[in-house]
C-alpha cells in the first residue's frame, strides 16, 4: 500500500502504531524470532554459508542467459512448455491463455510472491476464472481482499477473531475462534477446492538448469496438492530463480527456512521434473508450463550498484529483524514485497512513485544486512535509491540545503557559530526549550541539546600541549556531534589517552563525515566531504584514527573507498580506512586498558550497543569488558536494537523514532541500572533527550565520559 504523499504515509504509519494487536504480535515475534534464529544456526558456520550463497547467486546471475537456455533445453526435452515474459502484463497474458487453451474454470494456487508481484489474480479473475489461494495465510488475506504483510507469514497482522469472522462469511456459518478449529475449517474448505480445480499455479524457489527441474518449499503441503491434483500445472517464477544445479538449491535450503521461520527445513520440498503422472488426463500426464517472469530483472542485473538484490531468496528475514517493521507492519513497509528488500523491489518492480516515500523509512540500523541469507547490502542499496530519487524527482529543499552547507566546511562552521547565538532565545540550560515547528515538528518525545558555547576545535589549542608526546600517535576524527554539541565527550577521551601516554593530534581541516547527506541521498556533498577528510588525515600521518562516533566510523570505513574513487586518492583512502578505530577497541586492543586503570565503585551501568558499532564495525566485546572493569555491567533487554535516532531519520519519522526510544529506555530503567552508556554521540543525543523528558531516571553517558569519571 504505497501512500501518494508523505503526509498520507505518516497518517498510515500512525494508524499502524495505534493498532495494539499488531504491535503486540510483532513485538513478541521480533524477540522470539531472534532467539530462535540464534538457536537454529548454533551448530553452523552462518557467515561462511551466507558468503557461499552470495557467491553462488552472483555466479548464477552472471550466466543467467546460459542457465535459461540450458533449462529450456532440458525441460522442453521432458515435455515442459517454457515461457519467458518480459513484463508483468506479458506474464498475465500467457497464463490467461494457458487457462483458456485448457478449458480451465477453477484455479488453485500455492504461494508465489512472483504471482503477487504481477497481480496475477486480478488478471485471471478479469477473465472470469475462479482463483483460490491455498496457503492458509494467503487464503485469509484473499478473503479480506488485502495484500500480504509479511513474505512468509502473509496474515501475521490478523487476530484469530478476525480470521474466524472471515471464515464465517466464507462458509456461511458461525466459526469458533479456536485456532486449531479454524485450521481444520480451512483444510476442509480448501480440500474441496483442490478436488475440483482444473489448474494449479505454484511458485518456485529454484529452477535447476542442469535438469530442467523446479524446487518448491512449503510447510503446509499445499504445494504438493497444487502440483498434483489439477490436470494443468503452471509454475510462475522470477527468472532470478535459475541456478546451475541441485547443489546450489541444497545450499540455499540450509539458510532459507532457518532465516524465514527459524526451522531447520520446511516440512516439504518438492522437486518436479518433466510432465509427471496425472490420472485426470487421457495420456495420464500433466499439462505442465513454466513461466519465467523478467519484469525488469535483466535490467537490474546490469545495475552495478543495485544488481545484487537479485540474490534475494525471499526468506523475509530483513522484515523479521527490522525495528521499523516491528512497529508499523508490512502494509507500511512495502508494496507487494515487504521489509528492506520490499522497499528496494517496490522501486524496481512497481514504480518510483510508489517507492519514493517508502524508501525514506529505513533507519539505517543495518540489522537486515546482518541477517540477509544472501549477504545483500540492503541499507546501502536503499541509500543508492534515495540518491537516484533525488536526481530524478529533485531533492526536498531541506536536504539540498544541508548538502550545500555540509560540503562547504567553512560555511558549515560559520553557520554553527551563528546557530549558537540564534538558539539563545529557545535555550533552556543544556537543552533547546522548544523548536520552532518549521525546523522540527513532533519532536516532543525528546529534548534536543544546544550547540556548545565552545566547540572542540576551539578548545583543542589548550588541550594539545598536554598530549604532545607519546609512542603511539592517534588522530581524533571528531565528527560534528562531538565537535559542536558534545565537545566534553572528546575532552574525556583526551584525558584517558593522556593517562595511557598516547600522543594525540586533531587535524583542523577535517569536516563532517558526510553520513547525514548520504542518508538523504545528497551524493555530491557526500563525495566532497570524504575527499577533504582523507586529505586532512593523510597530512597528519597518524598510527590510528579514533572516532568516538560509531556512525562516522562505519560510514567512512564502508563508503569512503567508493566516494573518493576517481580522485586519485586510492592509497590514501585505503590507509585512512585501515587506521579508523572505535574508542573502545582503541583502549582495549591498542592501549591495553584494564581493571587497573579504574576506581570501580560498582556503579550499575547498562549498555546500548549502537547499530553502527555492533553491526557495521562488528565491535561487541570490548565495550562490555570496559564497563565491567570500570563499573558493574548490568545486562538490559535487546541491547543491540536501534534507539531510534538514525540521524536525520528521527526528524523525518518522529513518531517511529519516539516509539523505539521509549522501548529502549523502558528496558534500561527496568534493568536497575543507574547509568546507560553507549559509544555514539547520536545515540547519546537520542537517549539523553528521552531521559530528560522521562524525568532523568537514568544518567546517559558516552563511553568516554563514564570511563574518564572512573579513571584512577
Amino acid at each position: 500500500m504505497a501512500a501518494e504523499t508523505m503526509k498520507s504515509y505518516h497518517s498510515q504509519i500512525q494508524e499502524a502504531l495505534d493498532d495494539s494487536f499488531l504491535r503486540q504480535t510483532l513485538d513478541k515475534f521480533a524477540v522470539q524470532y531472534k532467539a530462535n534464529r540464534t538457536a537454529i544456526f548454533a551448530d553452523m558456520n552462518e557467515r561462511e554459508l551466507i558468503a557461499e550463497i552470495a557467491a553462488g547467486k552472483d555466479e548464477s546471475m552472471g550466466r543467467l542467459e546460459e542457465l535459461y537456455a540450458q533449462f529450456c533445453e532440458q525441460a522442453q526435452k521432458k515435455g515442459v512448455i517454457v515461457h519467458r515474459a518480459k513484463t508483468a502484463a506479458d506474464a498475465n497474458e500467457i497464463i490467461c491463455q494457458i487457462a483458456k487453451d485448457n478449458d480451465v474454470k477453477k484455479i488453485i494456487k500455492s504461494k508465489s510472491m512472483t504471482a503477487e508481484e504481477i497481480h496475477l489474480n486480478h488478471s485471471l479473475e478479469a477473465e472470469g476464472l475462479q482463483v483460490i489461494e491455498t496457503d492458509l495465510g494467503e487464503w485469509i488475506i484473499q478473503l479480506r481482499h488485502e495484500g500480504p504483510t509479511h513474505m512468509v507469514m502473509p496474515a501475521i497482522h490478523l487476530s484469530r477473531y478476525q480470521v474466524a469472522e472471515e471464515f464465517a462469511k466464507a462458509t456461511s456459518q458461525e466459526q469458533d475462534s479456536d485456532i486449531g478449529k479454524l485450521v481444520k475449517v480451512a483444510r476442509q474448505e480448501l480440500r474441496a477446492h483442490f478436488s475440483t480445480a482444473d489448474m494449479g499455479i505454484s511458485g518456485a524457489n529454484f529452477a535447476i538448469a542442469a535438469n530442467g527441474s523446479i524446487g518448491i518449499c512449503t510447510n503446509e503441503g499445499n504445494g504438493r496438492l497444487t502440483t498434483t491434483l489439477p490436470r494443468v500445472h503452471v509454475v510462475v517464477a522470477g527468472i532470478d530463480k535459475l541456478c546451475p544445479s541441485i547443489h546450489d538449491a541444497l545450499r540455499i535450503i540450509q539458510v532459507l527456512p532457518r532465516n524465514a521461520t527459524a526451522q531447520a527445513i520446511t516440512t516439504y520440498v518438492s522437486w518436479i521434473t518433466g510432465s509427471t503422472n496425472c490420472e485426470m488426463t487421457e495420456d495420464k500426464k500433466k499439462v505442465y508450463h513454466v513461466v519465467f517472469v523478467d519484469n525488469g530483472r535483466t535490467d537490474l542485473l546490469k545495475d552495478p550498484k543495485c544488481g545484487e538484490v537479485l540474490r534475494c531468496v525471499r526468506c523475509g528475514a530483513c522484515a523479521n529483524v527490522c525495528p521499523v517493521y516491528r512497529l508499523v507492519g508490512g502494509h507500511k513497509m512495502g508494496y507487494v514485497y515487504i521489509g528492506a528488500v520490499g522497499l528496494i523491489l517496490t522501486y524496481f518492480f512497481h514504480g518510483h512513485d510508489r517507492a519514493k516515500n517508502l524508501v525514506q523509512n529505513c533507519i539505517g540500523c543495518q540489522a537486515c544486512k546482518d541477517v540477509c541469507a544472501a549477504g545483500i547490502d540492503l541499507p546501502g542499496i536503499i541509500l543508492e535509491i534515495r540518491a537516484r530519487l533525488n536526481e530524478e524527482q529533485g531533492a526536498p529543499l531541506s536536504s539540498s540545503l544541508l548538502g550545500t552547507v555540509l560540503a562547504n566546511r567553512s560555511l558549515f562552521h560559520t553557520l554553527l557559530k551563528f546557530g549558537k547565538f540564534a538558539q539563545l532565545p529557545v535555550k533552556s540550560g543544556q537543552y533547546v526549550r522548544h523548536l520552532p515547528s518549521i525546523f522540527a515538528g513532533n519532536q516532543d518525545f525528546r529534548a534536543l541539546p544546544t550547540i556548545a558555547s565552545k566547540s572542540f576545535r576551539q578548545r583543542w589549542p589548550q588541550l594539545a600541549p598536554e598530549v604532545s608526546q607519546g609512542s603511539v600517535k592517534i588522530g581524533i576524527f571528531s565528527g560534528c556531534a562531538q565537535d559542536f554539541v558534545y565537545p566534553e565527550q572528546l575532552e574525556a577521551a583526551v584525558k584517558i589517552l593522556k593517562a595511557k601516554g598516547a600522543k594525540v593530534v586533531f587535524p583542523m581541516e577535517q569536516s563532517c563525515c558526510g553520513l547525514p547527506v548520504e542518508m538523504m541521498g545528497e551524493r555530491k556533498a557526500a563525495k566532497k566531504t570524504a575527499v577533504s577528510n582523507v586529505k586532512a588525515f593523510h597530512e597528519a600521518d597518524v598510527d590510528h584514527i579514533v572516532t568516538l562516533c560509531a556512525s562516522c566510523a562505519s560510514h567512512m570505513k564502508e563508503h569512503y573507498p567508493e566516494l573518493t574513487a576517481g580522485e586519485g586518492l586510492e592509497s590514501q583512502t585505503k590507509a585512512f580506512v585501515d587506521k579508523i578505530i572505535d574508542f573502545s577497541s582503541l583502549l582495549k586492543n591498542v592501549l591495553n586498558v584494564g581493571s587497573a586503570d579504574f576506581n570501580n565503585n560498582g556503579d550499575k551501568v547498562a549498555y546500548h550497543s549502537s547499530c553502527h558499532l555492533c553491526r557495521s564495525l562488528g565491535v561487541t566485546k570490548e565495550p562490555r569488558e570496559l564497563l565491567g572493569e570500570a563499573g558493574e555491567y548490568v545486562v538490559s533487554p535487546e541491547e543491540d536494537v536501534c534507539c531510534g535516532f538514525g540521524g536525520t531519520y528521527s526528524m523525518k519519522f518522529p513518531e517511529i523514532s519516539g516509539e523505539l526510544l521509549a522501548h529502549k529506555l523502558q528496558g534500561v530503567e527496568e534493568s536497575g541500572a543507574e547509568t546507560l552508556v553507549t559509544d555514539c554521540p547520536g545515540c547519546v543525543m537520542q537517549l539523553r533527550g528521552g531521559e530528560e523528558k522521562r524525568g532523568r531516571k537514568v544518567k546517559v553517558e558516552h563511553m568516554s565520559e563514564f570511563l574518564a569519571r572512573n579513571l584512577k
Binding site: 504480535t25 513478541k28 515475534f29 521432458k78 515435455g79 496457503d135 492458509l136 495465510g137 485469509i140 507469514m153 496474515a155 501475521i156 490478523l158 487476530s159 484469530r160 480470521v163 485456532i179 485450521v183 481444520k184 480451512a186 483444510r187 476442509q188 480448501l190 480440500r191 483442490f194 535447476i208 542442469a210 535438469n211 527441474s213 510447510n219 503446509e220 503441503g221 499445499n222 504438493r224 496438492l225 502440483t227 491434483l229 544445479s245 541441485i246 547443489h247 541444497l250 535450503i253 540450509q254 531447520a264 527445513i265 520446511t266 516440512t267 516439504y268 520440498v269 518438492s270 522437486w271 521434473t273 518433466g274 510432465s275 509427471t276 503422472n277 496425472c278 490420472e279 485426470m280 500426464k285
Partner: protein, 203 residues
Amino acid sequence: MPGNLDPATLDLFLAKAKAATIEVVAVENIHNAVDYAIEATKRAEFGKLLPTGGPPKPATGERRKTLAAPALSQELYDELAKKGEAENFEMIRSGLREYLAGVDVSLTIASMGIAETATLIIENEREDDRLATMICETSLIVLPKSKLFKTSYETEAFLNEALGREHNYTSFISGPSRTADIERVLTLGVHGPLAMHVILLEE
C-alpha cells in the same frame, strides 16, 4: 549394510526428528514394519482433522478404517493387505483420488534420509503415491538405517539421478503438515498429515 551408520548421525536424526514432531520407532525388519502399520491403524481415531472433531456419520453400515499403501511392492502389499483385511480395514492400493476426504493411515518407504534436518526423501512420481502421503491423517514412512546420511549434500548423487530422468517427482518430507499462519501458533495437519512416524529398519 547394518552397522555402517555412524551412531552420531543416528542421534542427530533422532534429536532433529523430535524437534520436528516426528515419532521414530526402530524395528528389526520389514515384516515388523508391516505389523507396526496394522497396529497404528488400529489405534487411529478417524476424523481428528474434521472441524467438528468427530467421525462423519456413514450413510449405511459401519465405517471401516482405511490403510493406503500404493507405493509398496506387490508382495509386501499382499502381506499388509492380508493382515489389514483380517482387522476389517479397507485396504487401498490405487485410485487415491476417490479418497480425497481422507484416509486414516498410509505406509510408504523412503529412498533416503537426511539426519541434520530429519528429512525423508521419497520418490513419488505416481499420483497415487503422492496423494497417499498427503491425504492420510497419519503418515508412516519406513527408512532403512543404511540409507540415512548426515547432510543433504550426501544425497546429491541420488537426487541428480532422479532429477535427470524424463519425469520425476521427488519429495523431501520433514514432519507432519504444519502452519503458523494464524497468530503464529504452530498447528499441525493444515493440508496434509496430522502425525508422521518414521519406522527405522535395522536390516
